[in-house]
């Protein structure tokens, strides 16, 4: 073995590549080291370098990071399950786009014909283009965000617009696909608070009754909204909707969490009501303890405190 091979060999040894190395290689290394003082010193330095890297100990996973990431995973899994119902299929975009392209081609064709053909034929071409235009427009959907470009050097003007279409999906509330679509709309992040609130109102009016129990996806979407939505009005709507459902451990946990962490007293009041109503039927130690804490918490909002105290009176211990 040459001296210059030693470093590579020593590193292989640290990485574990020599773990199963044949005896002769190891023997060769040992023999070489015995005879070569320079390599012994070199090996010592490599070992020291390798061990010194251990001065940077491993970073632990903090409980907060763990909690946040598990919640994120939960959300992402829900989104994945609902994705097939998301109104994002290629067809939805391809058709209007194709139709819009047809409109534009027809218009351009008409313009081209009007400018290139002799006068009578140009009139006919324009007429053809204009008669096909409304029909194509009607198929493509509504035009919005329209803007106009003044004539360029060649005298061509421009009209830009978005083509939008509106879909209606009809189904019974207990249809699993409809329930999933509604859950998706409640959990979807990219929408205004008003849109989200309307989705929750729909849930409140059609689910949670004995006739149409809410699907687990809807419950999950609502508990996630109660926990994370930035808008207190939306969180309160989610709490109201959940309060209309039959109490489950998941819903109870969401209310207990809201009672102790939600910054909005309106949301906490709904949580007190829902938890108290459920504890009247089945007294639950954690619920009672949480209500007791709220009733005696001097920093809590007066209404919430009074509500918690009066709720406790109504529960038979």
């Amino acid at each position: 073995m040459e001296c210059r091979e030693l470093i590579a060999f020593a590193i292989d040894d640290r990485v574990g590549a020599l773990r199963d190395a044949a005896g002769p290689e190891r023997r060769e290394l040992a023999e070489h080291l015995e005879a070569c003082a320079a390599c012994r010193a070199e090996l010592e330095k490599i070992e020291e370098t390798w061990s010194r890297l251990g001065d940077d100990p491993d970073l632990p996973v903090s409980p907060d990071f763990r909690k946040r990431t598990l919640a994120l995973i939960d959300d992402e899994m829900l989104r994945m399950r609902l994705k097939q119902f998301a109104p994002r299929s290629r067809k939805r975009f391809v058709r209007p786009l194709a139709e819009a392209a047809a409109v534009i081609l027809a218009a351009l064709g008409g313009w081209w014909a009007a400018h290139r053909l002799p006068a009578p034929a140009a009139q006919a071409a324009s007429a053809t283009a204009s008669s096909s235009y409304p029909a194509a427009l009607e198929k493509a959907g509504a035009l919005s965000n329209v803007s106009y470009r003044p004539a360029d050097r060649d005298g061509r003007i421009g009209v830009s617009f978005d083509v939008t279409s509106h879909k209606t999906i009809v189904g019974r509330p207990d249809d699993p696909q409809m329930a999933s679509l509604v859950a998706y709309l409640v959990s979807r992040g990219a929408q205004t608070s008003g849109e989200k609130s309307r989705a929750i109102e729909l849930v409140s009016s059609h689910y949670g009754t004995g006739e149409t129990p809410a699907s687990p996806d809807i419950v999950r979407a609502l508990t996630a909204t109660l926990k994370k939505d930035q808008n207190p009005g939306v969180r309160k709507k989610a709490a109201d909707a959940l309060a209309g459902f039959r109490m489950t451990p998941e819903i109870r946990a969401a209310f207990l969490d809201a009672l102790s962490t939600d910054p909005n007293p309106g949301v906490r009041l709904v949580a007190v009501d829902a938890l108290a109503a459920s504890a009247k039927e089945v007294p639950d130690a954690k619920t009672i303890e949480s209500l007791r804490e709220k009733a005696f918490d001097p920093t809590e909002n007066g209404y919430v405190r009074a509500k918690a105290a009066s709720a406790l009176k109504g529960i038979e211990f």
Binding site: G16, W50, R52, P60, L72, D74, M77
Partner: protein
């Protein structure tokens, strides 16, 4: 982290559960790999907040791309590869990550240490971080996977998408650089004291 066959097949089963929409499967994969992925990202970026973001990004990508895993490499290699790519993106976006002020290096709690020992350990840790940071990105990735995660050459090659020979070269050069760096540091330290 020495992988055995049982761990590999368990990982594949978890991925299959994720494909089927099983949230518990995703949570189990998180429990299994979040410590290693967080440490990996932390050593590549030297920024705890960014390392946490990268780790979260890995799991979101695993969920959305579980169907893309082709089974050619270990699931662990696939996860590390996603993390390595995410770290590269972060570094490209924010070159500030290459600067490691001493106070920015998070310190794991060490119970019962005296103030002097704590300071010394903090300085050593910062010195190692700075030395790692001064390596090229390629060398650092390979070295961190070998030294801190115990991955064999073949798995590092899978993670980084390079040949085993290239992995060996990168680690060799990294060790050579660090050896010189630590020797210089010791000389300076001894001279100052």
């Amino acid at each position: 982290m020495v992988k055995d066959q049982t761990a590999g097949s368990e990982d594949r089963r978890l991925l299959e559960r994720i494909r089927r929409g099983d949230t518990d499967g995703a949570a189990e994969l998180f429990e299994r790999y979040s410590p290693a992925l967080l440490r990996f990202a932390d050593r590549l970026l030297s920024d705890r907040a960014m390392a946490e973001e990268v780790t979260q990004e890995v799991f979101v990508k695993v969920i959305t791309r579980a169907h893309q895993y082709d089974g050619r490499a270990e699931v662990s290699s696939w996860l590390f590869a996603i993390a390595a790519n995410a770290c590269r993106d972060r570094r490209r976006r924010d070159r500030r990550a290459t600067v490691v002020p001493l106070e920015a290096v998070p310190e794991p709690s060490q119970k019962g240490d005296g103030a002097e020992a704590k300071l010394l350990s903090r300085e050593r840790r910062a010195a190692v971080r700075q030395a790692l940071n001064d390596l090229s990105e390629e060398q650092r990735e390979a070295l961190v996977l070998a030294r801190y995660h115990g991955l064999p050459y073949s798995e590092i090659a899978d993670v980084l998408g390079i040949s085993v020979g290239a992995v060996k070269t990168r680690i060799f050069r990294a060790v050579e650089t660090l050896k010189a760096r630590f020797s210089e540091g010791d000389t300076a330290w001894n001279a100052a004291n």
